[in-house]
């Protein structure tokens, strides 16, 4: 039967005691309680018996049949997973093949190679220009904030409220810039 324990009896403690999860001091304390409390002692024995039955049943796994080639299938599927572990040699071969193919393409396009390379250089220029613009924007913003902060500090009028207001303005501006950048990326 499930124990109808008295007030003050260590209900949760019994489970932890049986599981061997208590400190030695707490264990001794409970054992002294069990020696004096018949319902608790009964409950300890009942729970032990129940857990013995439960664990002997749950540890029985022989009736769980796995497909005969399960290990091989799992390993093959894991290995074919694109983001999985890649052997260093495999990565090296992939790099060599990619470079070789790139070289072949350049040779194949022959006189047109100059145009292809010019296109790549043009793209790189555009990326650098956009990155430079945003870098300059952030730099100017922080420079402006530093100048304002220095001016306020020199006047002695920099209190916590104005500092908070300034920080809020900076955060809002940065959020607006990042949203604008995301929109440009989407376009």
């Amino acid at each position: 039967m499930v124990n109808e324990s008295k007030k003050g009896c260590p209900n949760h403690g019994i489970a932890a005691y049986i599981d061997g999860e208590l400190s030695p001091a707490r264990e001794i304390e409970l054992e002294m309680h069990f020696a004096a409390c018949e319902p608790c002692l009964f409950e300890v024995n009942e729970q032990k018996r129940f857990l013995r039955e439960l664990e002997s049943s749950l540890h029985y796994e022989n009736d769980l049949e796995l497909p005969s080639n399960f290990t091989k299938v799992v390993v093959a599927n894991a290995e074919s997973s694109v983001s999985g572990l890649r052997r260093p040699r495999e990565r090296y071969y992939a790099l060599i093949v990619t470079l070789t193919l790139g070289l072949f393409v350049l040779i194949a396009v022959g006189p047109e190679a100059g145009k292809v390379m010019a296109g790549v250089a043009h793209l790189a220029d555009q990326v650098a220009a956009v990155a430079g613009f945003f870098g300059h924007l952030v730099y100017s913003l922080f420079l402006g904030v530093v100048i304002i902060l220095r001016a306020l500090a020199l006047q002695g009028s920099l209190d916590s409220f104005s500092l908070l207001a300034l920080l809020s303005i900076v955060i809002l501006t940065l959020t607006a810039v990042s949203k604008k950048a995301a929109r440009i990326r989407r376009v």
Partner: protein, 201 residues
């Protein structure tokens, strides 16, 4: 990283940590041995969580693919068994969420932190049932009736022999909650047995 022998006879004697080092270094035999070691315990845990054999094989496979993809991030501060059970726990819970038709997944925690007993679902096939002993069948059946959170704790503790600390790590629950829920889960199991006419439990 230490050099690891790859002979088939020697590989069975290696620790989990040595096998992981081998797998990260590109030895497929290391990962294969890890799969061989843990496939049955993980499938058993997932099967008892989900109650469906085919799904448990799929989820187990998913677990090992996640393990494979994350092996290079594995920290040797943790026990591998705790780590893999954490992945299996998350994969099982995700699977139940994705397939939210099972009654076990619709659970509401009571004000005192306990959970209601659920309706029974997912009976095993008749062939499987016949082959099992009456008691094992009854245990499995009662476990399937437990709310997922309780079933999970019972399986991790009494089937996989994890400590309270390890269970807290696997499930992400505070230690106190683990102790509390485990106690309630056992009480609920015993009540279910008594309801089914098994006295002296």
């Amino acid at each position: 990283m230490t050099a690891v022998a790859i002979s088939l006879n020697g590989i069975r004697k290696l620790t989990d940590g040595e096998l992981i080092e081998g797998a990260v270094a590109g030895q497929v035999e290391g990962f294969e041995e890890l799969v061989r070691r843990y496939q049955r315990p993980i499938t058993s845990y997932v099967y008892r969580m989900l109650g469906d054999y085919e799904s448990s094989l799929d989820v187990t496979q998913e677990v090992f693919i996640k393990v494979y993809n994350s092996l290079h991030k594995y920290s040797f501060d943790y026990k591998f068994s705790t780590w893999i059970y954490r992945i299996a726990h998350n994969a099982s819970v995700d699977h139940m969420r994705r397939n939210s038709v099972t009654p076990q997944s619709i659970e509401v925690e009571n004000a005192d932190g306990s959970f209601q007993i659920q309706l029974e679902s997912h009976a095993a096939s008749p062939e499987q049932e016949r082959e099992r002993s009456e008691w094992r069948t009854e245990i499995d059946s009662v476990i399937r009736c437990l709310p997922t959170v309780y079933r999970d704790l019972i399986l991790l503790r009494h089937s996989r022999d994890l400590s309270y600390d390890e269970i807290a790590e696997v499930t992400g629950l505070p230690l106190g909650t683990v102790k509390n829920r485990l106690f309630r889960a056992r009480e609920m199991m015993r009540e279910l047995f008594i309801q089914r006419g098994f006295t002296g439990i």
